[in-house]
């Protein structure tokens, strides 16, 4: 799973896709995930990091991470989505 390399991520949660001109807002944990995806971190490592950082159980993180990534695909922000 990797996201488009040219996505611009701001510190305040503003995401810009220069290919399409679309912009997005993400919450802090969403931004953290996008950053890690941009650094080509593996899904499992990202989930482990989230589990260590946040007050949530693994199942919740697993489920929400899957949902978030599916959302990125839906918004065509992933590499394999063209």
């Amino acid at each position: 799973m990797s996201i488009k390399k040219n996505l611009a991520l701001s510190d305040t949660g503003f995401v810009f896709n220069p290919s399409t001109g679309d912009s997005y807002s993400v919450n802090p944990i969403g931004l953290e995930i996008l950053r890690m995806l941009k650094e080509n971190k593996k899904d499992e490592d990202i989930k482990k990091h989230l589990l260590a950082t946040y007050q949530a159980d693994f199942e919740t993180i697993e489920k929400d991470y899957y949902d978030f990534v599916k959302g990125l695909e839906q918004l065509k922000l992933t590499e394999n989505n063209g």
Partner: protein, 452 residues
Amino acid sequence: MKRQQYERPLIQRINSGIMNKFGTKTEYAPVTHIDDFSVKELIKQYGSPVFVISEKTMRDTYKEANRAFKTRYPKVQFAWSYKTNYINAVCNVFHQEGSWAEVVSGFEYKKALQNGMPGNKIIFNGPDKTDEDLISAINNNSPIHIDHLDELYRLTELADEMKKKPNVAIRVNMDTGIYPMWDRFGFNYENGQAWDAINKIILGDKLELVGLHTHIGTFMLSPSAYAIAANKLADLALGVKKKFGRTIQYIDMGGGFASKNTLKGSYLPGSDTSPDFNQFAEAICTALLNAGFVEKDLPLLVLETGRAMIDDAGYLLGSVIANKRLSDGRRATIMDFGVNILFTAFWYSHKISPAQDFSTYTEDTVLYGPLCMNIDVVRDQITLPPLKKDDHVVVHTVGAYNMTQWMQFISMRPAVVMLGLDGKSHLIRKRETIENIEANEVMPEYLLKFKI
């Protein structure tokens, strides 16, 4: 290192420049308490979902309505519309405040009697009154509001048989300038049916015509329609005085005042657009005062306000069952309450607040109920912070009609709790059980056993 507070990750496209008449974020504060009662504790104690009624709001609303009319007109009487919410504890709060009862069936009539209402303070409306109902109402001296000629003739026969003169009013429908015109209840004013019925009653001399009634519509947003209706009823009352020298004792303006709910498709929220009691009172009272009654003949003004009296006092507390993403990417959240118990979700965009703290991030969500039915949509579009399984929400302004029109469908109906002025929460209707539902079922002997 202490782990940070978790919030579901979310991303949302920014649609700048696109018009959105429904606005964006709607809820800025969680509703953790209602009248100082913790939402979390109420759900813990009574289960989820649970209807909650604020006694304080009920009584405050009654006082506000009463004040609005009594400061403008000398003789005012409210009658609690049983069909709006006939849980006995709810009825009795309004009866304690001074409300009579307004009922529309034999079932409701019995409820009012059992609640201790004197018969002469139970107004009997509705198109369906059985002989048993009419006899009971005649014996109890209740004002019977005649809906159609068949009822008028039957009542005349019963009066003859019982050698009693029942107190009656006629229900009058009319053009008040609103669309659609409600012409199914009672006798029409414009085409002379109402005047004809009045003549039949008075000249027949078997029934005592004590009042005139109208019910011009529901969720009325136009107070001026009530002024027109009051004028037309006053015209009939003055006509009776002129022709027969008799005084009509009361004019009943029915119900229909809008609550603060938001109708689906409305541009602005109901809290901003619905007229308040003062506006309705001003329209009705001014029309009656200026109609031409001499002071001693001024009729009692009866109001059967239901929805506007209780809607604000009712809340539905519920919990999140699951989150999912729809095929087009939209967020969907499944709640543990659906249209089976929140019937008004079909025509209102109910205000729904999270019951726990949340961040400033929100997403557009479709809110579904738990039923295995496609129509079970509580809100087809709402902006909410990310909710997770077992989070709680508070649905506002649900006091009217939901606790009477709810359906026992697929699941049981929830408990109803009153938040008392004594600082305690009181269970006023227990959560239904399978035993309650099956109590009325009968199994034929030959169907008792099967092999499979």
